[in-house]
């Protein structure tokens, strides 16, 4: 499948761009993270710390073990600081 992958805040800065289309067979978000981290040093730096990594699948917050079946858009970002 092909996913639209988005990055925000300092993850975006480390990756170097805000979005990319990714062809993947990843079963879960965690699998996708591993695939992306191997793509470049910037990706590796962005996705380094799984404890603070936050993720949304199709604009809903999920944890790393969420299956990707049927997903179209996956976003990665640091802990949120709104309000």
């Amino acid at each position: 499948m092909t996913l639209e992958v988005l990055y925000f805040a300092w993850l975006r800065e480390r990756v170097g761009h805000p979005r990319e289309s990714v062809a993947t067979d990843a079963a879960t978000v965690r699998d996708l993270v591993a695939q992306l981290a191997a793509q470049s040093d910037g990706h590796a730096a962005a996705l380094d710390d799984l404890a603070t990594l936050r993720c949304a699948v199709d604009q809903k917050l999920v944890d790393l073990d969420t299956p990707l079946a049927g997903a179209r858009e996956v976003a990665f970002f640091p802990p949120m600081t709104g309000g």
Partner: protein
């Protein structure tokens, strides 16, 4: 009952026009850019268009159901906001005081750590640094 994300400033008075008709209690919270260091010029707020609106609407609906609100409003800005400028507001209307207070507090806890906004502090010398999430913001959700 509405949530908005916008770059423009908002006017609390305009937001409250006709707000909460029939309620007994209206609570508002307004967040303002505060310069703690003495060197800050502005905040720059990034967000996740699409998801942000959805998240805020979900929080509002959850608060309305839980606290039996007769009205609620969330406005959150993104982009650059100078020191002293308004960042966001929530307003809640309920029959009774306790519900209006608790709902506003609840919405703020959710906004702080579950709405896709990321703040960057812009110093007077132009340097920028991302605001780190505080662990007690996350802990605060455990209250509800």
């Amino acid at each position: 009952m509405s949530a908005r994300v916008q770059a423009e400033p908002f006017d609390l008075a305009v937001e409250l026009r006709g707000f909460g008709a029939g309620a007994g209690a209206v609570v508002t919270f307004t967040g303002i850019v505060r310069d703690d260091s003495g060197h800050m010029a502005a905040l720059d707020i990034e967000h996740y268009p699409g998801m942000t609106e959805r998240a805020l609407t979900d929080f509002g609906a959850a608060a309305a159901a839980r606290f039996d609100l007769s009205d609620w409003r969330i406005v959150h800005r993104h982009g650059r906001i100078e020191t002293g400028g308004q960042i966001m507001m929530v307003a809640t209307a309920a029959r009774h005081r306790r519900a209006a207070f608790d709902a506003a507090d609840y919405l703020m806890d959710w906004l702080k750590s579950r709405a896709p906004f990321w703040k960057r502090e812009i110093a007077q010398d132009g340097s920028a640094s991302w605001v780190e999430a505080r662990s007690n913001d996350e802990d605060a959700l455990g209250r509800w």
